[in-house]
Amino acid sequence: MEKKIDKTIDKSIDKTGVRIGMWLFLYTEIILFGGLFVLYAAYFHKFPDLFAQGGKELNRVLGTVNTAVLLISSFTVAASITALQRGKKGQTISLLLFSIFCGAVFLVNKYFEWSAKFHHDIFPNSATLQDGPDGLNIFFGLYYVITGLHGLHVIIGMLLLTITLVLVIKERVHKDRFQLLENSGLYWHLVDLIWIFVFPLFYLVL
């Protein structure tokens, strides 16, 4: 007896599969930053003293504030997932809004930090860096590349969270279908995680 395949039944979402896909993607993101960290390691080995000197010029207060902001937003994103799973739509929306706000705060801080540096003539290809010692030029070069790429990821993460937020409001993402929120949340955690490595490398290097 031939068994016919019923194509109508198997339409539920494979949550584990979606999660595997996302984790694999996050893995590629980590390797992407890994290349930059390899570069950092090589140059740190070459110019340890100048890297320490460069680190002292960075604003540690702003860095710490940004770290705190990202950690808090990571928590609120995680909380929003739990809120959605419990079916509390309003709570989810406010938690997501707060997380996006935290991302914005992070970027504003970064803006002030970068413009202060620019003001002191410290930016790629600037006269101060070109004429100064090589190690300092590399340190700030890496600083701009890594934090710039990280900032780009913050923006992408905020976009993802915003899209999710809209879909939560429209009830396309809800209690039984929260994969998008979960995956955006995972992405946001990744952004946070990378910052946790970036922060000590640049601000606390001594």
């Binding site: 395949i5 194509k7 599969g17 290349g35 140059y43 070069g141």
Partner: protein, 562 residues
């Protein structure tokens, strides 16, 4: 068997008609076909570039183009062949089409992502073309974009690098999709050790793609940053180190060689047992060696840099690691040969091409050992010997495996059969031309002719001239093979469901397959290469034929008696 509508006739998603049914499809088979035409197009473009270069090199001095066009041409040839043909060819075309069918699934896990991969692929290709006509012309750096030249040349490097970045992204997403598909969508009856070897090779490849491609992405991004902002990360004048660029670049690009060759080996592992009517020798050995190549191949990148100025210890270590990769590769080759030993070999175009693959790839692999040893490499580095070596491995390997796969799966993909005689002639011409094309380059390389050079000393002229002739022969053979396949659309000689006597799941569905791949629940065999049924079927047919003949002759005898 009830008649089924093939996926060509079922618009997907439902409601879409004409071209939109293709451009917005989520069907992995249609996406595979779309890749087939786009990759085929790029292959022909790059083939022409290669041929033009060889014509230029046939005679000393300027023949048909100046040095600047020559530099752009070899860059174009390299970029297209590497990023738009060799890397995507087998996984994107045949992987997309057959991986889900081989594991009994009705699609890949992320169908929309799959479509996105195709669009990224097309976008990357488009950007590569656009960069030809914008700015100061196509980059002349070679496909490796080595600093400092790629930072100082005034050609349009940024756009081409962006194209390569996007193509890397496409390849990564395909890999991610395949891994998830294999893990989550394998039919429940199929254990890991019941998976066909082609699927296994794609699985290993996908891991390499995910592991290695982001390193390329970041390297290319840094080239863009360097060009736009002049930071100096690779500029010794500003404290940077150009060797670091090479490390990062080869950390991807060496594993990329295994992204290219592993699926090709998977194709060969499918073809050899089918036409030997014998279970593949050492199934587990082939599986383990695929994963072994994926791991070991990621550790050998610095053998491209023996002459770049590394420490002797590093050279020694990387030389040793390079030799280690030969072990899993040899395991595969010996398994294929052992499979054919005492098999009931049936010669067909796919098997013929697979045998050519083994022969050419072995030459490519063995000359790789000569380059892997630091002592000989110092002499041969950046000579035509290297050019010949990687063309033997990549073109003789992946290229011919691609042709073999095309001939093997053509009846399944389109439901039509091609002419065998033309296929044999085309394949022979291509293989003979190939050998005449590249063997002279080994000799030229050992005599000291450098690669990437537009002109050369008169003493190299004879070798280059002969190589050019071989090149023409090879191109004619390849075009004949393609012509033969394309003409089969006109003649429409229908192909049966299982023309070769294959045992993997794709041969249990109609040709071409229906929209949801399977008409009935897929029957997974205890062991994927169990040919007892195929042989029994053939014997039955033979016996029936014998009986028929006996009856005929009896009747004849009767007539005589009367």
């Amino acid at each position: 068997m009830n008649a089924t509508e093939s996926f060509y006739n079922t618009p997907s998603p439902p409601g879409l008609k004409g071209i939109w049914a293709w451009l917005l499809t989520h069907d992995h088979k249609r996406i595979g076909i779309m890749y087939l035409w786009s990759v085929g197009f790029w292959f022909c473009v790059a083939l022409c570039c290669g041929l033009l270069m060889r014509i230029e090199l046939m005679w000393v001095g300027k023949t048909i183009m100046g040095p600047e066009i020559y530099n752009s041409l070899f860059t174009l040839h390299g970029v297209i062949m590497v990023f738009l043909f060799v890397i995507p060819a087998v996984p994107s075309i045949f992987g997309n089409f057959f991986l889900p069918i081989q594991i009994g699934a009705d699609d890949v896990f992320f169908p929309r992502l799959n479509l996105l991969s195709w669009y990224l692929f097309m976008l990357g290709g488009l950007l590569a073309i656009v960069s030809l006509f914008l700015g100061e012309g196509f980059p002349d750096t070679g496909w490796t974009f080595y600093v400092p030249f790629s930072l100082t040349t005034d050609k349009n490097v940024v756009l081409t690098v962006t194209a390569a970045f996007i193509l890397g992204m496409s390849s990564m997403l395909t890999g991610l999709n395949f891994i998830t598909t294999v893990h989550r969508m394998r039919t429940k009856d199929m254990g890991w050790m019941q998976m066909p070897l082609f699927t296994w090779s794609l699985y290993a490849t996908s891991w390499v793609q995910i592991l290695a491609t982001p390193v390329l992405s970041i390297t290319l991004l840094m080239v863009i940053f360097e060009r736009v902002f002049a930071i100096g990360l690779f500029d010794p004048g500003k404290g940077g180190d150009p060797i670091l660029y090479q490390h990062l670049f080869w950390m991807y690009s060496h594993p990329a060689v295994y992204i290219m060759i592993l699926p090709a080996m998977g194709v060969i592992s499918e073809i050899i047992p089918v036409f030997s009517r014998k279970a593949v020798f050492g199934y587990k050995g082939i599986v383990i060696s695929s994963m072994g190549i994926a791991v070991a191949g990621s550790l050998v990148w610095a053998h491209h840099m023996y002459t770049s100025g590394m420490s002797d210890v590093a050279i020694f270590v990387f030389s040793l690691l390079t030799f280690l990769v030969a072990i899993p590769t040899a395991v595969k080759v010996f398994s294929w040969i052992a499979t054919m030993y005492k098999g009931a070999i049936e010669m067909t175009p796919p098997l013929y091409l697979a045998l050519i693959f083994i022969y050419l790839f072995c030459i490519g692999g063995l000359t790789g050992l000569i380059l892997g040893a630091a002592g000989t490499d110092i002499h041969l580095h950046d000579t035509h010997f290297v050019v010949s070596h990687f063309h033997f491995a990549m073109f003789g390997g992946t290229g011919f495996a691609f042709f073999a796969a095309l001939h093997y799966w053509w009846p399944k993909m389109f439901g039509i059969m091609y002419d065998f005689k033309k296929a044999y002639i085309g394949a022979t011409l291509a293989a003979v031309g190939f050998i005449f094309h590249y063997i002279p380059m080994f000799i030229l390389g050992m005599q000291g002719m450098p690669r990437r050079y537009y002109d050369y000393l008169p003493k190299f002229e004879r070798g280059n001239f002969l190589a050019g002739l071989g090149g023409f022969l090879m191109v004619i053979g390849i075009l004949l093979m393609f012509y033969n396949l394309l003409i089969s659309f006109r003649k429409k000689k229908g192909a049966p469901q299982d023309p070769w006597g294959g045992t993997t799941l794709e041969w249990s569905v109609p040709s071409p397959p229906p929209l949801h791949n399977f008409v009935e629940e897929p029957q997974v065999k205890e062991y994927p290469y169990d040919f007892s049924e195929v042989i029994a079927r053939a014997q039955e047919a033979q016996e029936a034929q014998d009986a028929q003949e006996a009856q005929d002759s009896e009747e004849e005898d009767g007539e005589k008696d009367r």
